[in-house]
Amino acid sequence: MIVFEHVAAAYGVRDVSAEFPRGTVTGIVGPNGAGKTTLLRLALGLLSLTSGSVVIGDKPLGNWSRTDLAKAVAYLPQGADAHWPVKARELVTLGRLPHRAPFAPVSPADAAAVDAALARADAARFAARRMDELSAGERARVLFARALATGAQALLADEPAAYLDPAHQLQLMELLREEAGRGTAVAVTLHDLSLASRHCDRVIVLDEGAVAASGAPVQALSDATLASVFGIAVERGAGGGVGAIRRL
């Protein structure tokens, strides 16, 4: 579980208090520049706070060692891709780096974790293939498996659904739900409000570096919030989910 309390930092995060409980998919939405990515990077210690606090599990962010934090929090950056066409399995094995002593080879436990991650991400079939031979949807699943292989209890995914076709977007959201079902605290930034309203347990709406609304999707993505933060009006589907969108 990750808790932000009155966090302010560079890159436009002014005052954010938020919780990312275990077993829950929490969607982070907001216009471009609202501070979504910054929020995730703050939780990883990639940026420093100017005020407020971030608590991960049972202790403040600053009390975590680099390696322990890497074991506790997994990160799937935006637009992630492999810079070298390594084999899918080799890429997923990188997720075991925090568990391996310097210069230690891949242990049987590491290999088992990699196999399990590949299976959970539905990527085992093409584990032996090179990244440049895979489709965008397959690469996204391999990168997702890499994040799972860390065995972390929190997973921060930045726009994992971007650049994917609708079927693969839905599959990825289902995979995130499955991870939450295993007790993982999942935080995911999304541009697609429809995906956020249907696949997240909770939604946090960010606007200019502060929380504009949060709670269950129907409440957080209310007509008033959508109008004031995004400048849009939406049609509602079954259960209040976000449907067709028009500009106000």
Partner: protein, 334 residues
């Protein structure tokens, strides 16, 4: 699974590289302007007596040994730089690291600083290499792309090359022109045992530093933020690669001048045998670089036994067309 197949390919490639290196090393030792038989040279090597002893110990062995050390430094540096910049075009020559190391060496020699100690020369070369590697590192931190990085390297290389020429024109030395060409193109001609003794430990230290960064380089395949989220201290990885490359390339350049393209060609060719992970390429690229430089140094002596052909000419003739081909290929995939 294909893992074991991949390992077999890698082992086979390693065995072939060692075999070629052994043959080329012996050939390098046996070749030279003094027409001595193999028997006489080996006898000279072991007893050290007479002209054969001097030629074997003071001329042939340092030259053959330096080819290995210089090649290993350039190959490993190329593999590490490519991993750091995630760019197959990166290598010490193209990024201007060798030419600025050359400038450092020339400054040390022509302003008389080498008189103080023989270690001054490699130290100045390392300082030169460190300066340009640091500039490139700062540029890459600002998110400069693959081709822009190489263009920056071209600018560094032309600046340091002209400064080298400037330094040599001011130096009151009748051989300045000839020396300039040797420093800019690189040569293993007329090396002394001292060159080998000073270069070897520095190159070994540099490569060792690169090896400590190899796991971080693998993680950088995922990008800097993802690597950091895996517990990698990305700043420390960068620092170790820049320092390791400066040590290895600086020491190699102090001994042999600015030899280009070895660090680009070798890792690229070896990827099909060892895979794409940077950690799997550093030591094989050191071995492959040693093979390439030793073979090239043998070939130039076979083509021009009087020593008119310089090592860097051959590596550039091999490397430059390869460079074009890589750029074309990058353009297609990007």
């Amino acid at each position: 699974m294909d893992g074991s197949l991949g390992k077999t390919r890698a082992r086979l490639a390693t065995a072939v590289l060692f075999a070629v290196l052994a043959v080329a090393f012996v050939a390098s030792f046996l070749l030279g302007p003094a027409q001595l038989s193999a028997g006489v040279l080996f006898a000279g090597l072991f007893d050290g007596h007479g002209a054969a002893g001097v030629i074997a110990r003071e001329i042939r062995l340092p030259r053959a040994g330096l080819a290995i050390v210089v090649g290993a430094a350039l190959g490993a540096s190329g593999a590490a730089l490519q991993g750091l910049f995630r760019n197959p075009l990166a290598e010490p020559g193209v990024t201007g690291v060798t030419s600025s190391a050359g400038l450092g060496a020339v400054l040390a020699i022509y302003f008389g600083l080498t008189a103080a100690s023989t270690v001054v020369l490699p130290l100045f070369a390392i300082a030169g290499a460190l300066a340009s590697a640091g500039i490139l590192y700062a540029l890459s931190r600002r998110g400069v792309g693959a081709v822009a990085l190489v263009l920056a390297g071209v600018a560094i290389a032309s600046l340091t090359t002209s400064l080298t020429a400037l330094a040599l024109s001011f130096a009151a030395n009748p051989y300045a022109m000839a020396d300039m060409v040797t420093w800019m193109l690189g040569s293993l001609k007329d090396r002394t045992p001292d060159d080998l003794y000073y270069a070897t430990p520095l190159v070994v230290l540099g490569i060792a530093l690169l090896l400590t960064a190899s796991r971080g380089l693998d993680a950088l395949t995922l990008g800097e933020d993802a690597a950091a989220s895996l517990g990698i201290d990305v700043g420390s990885v960068r620092g170790r690669v820049v320092l390791g490359v400066a040590l290895a390339t600086g020491a190699a350049t102090a001994a042999a001048g600015a030899v280009s393209f070895v660090g680009m060609v070798v890792p690229h060719v070896l990827r099909r045998f060892y895979g794409y992970e940077p950690s799997k390429l550093i030591l094989p690229s050191a071995l492959g670089g040693a093979v390439l430089v030793t073979v090239a140094d043998v070939v130039i002596r076979l083509i021009a036994p009087d020593g008119q052909l310089l090592l860097g000419v051959v590596t550039a003739m091999l490397g430059a067309p390869f460079f074009f081909w890589l750029i074309l290929r990058l353009g297609r995939t990007a």
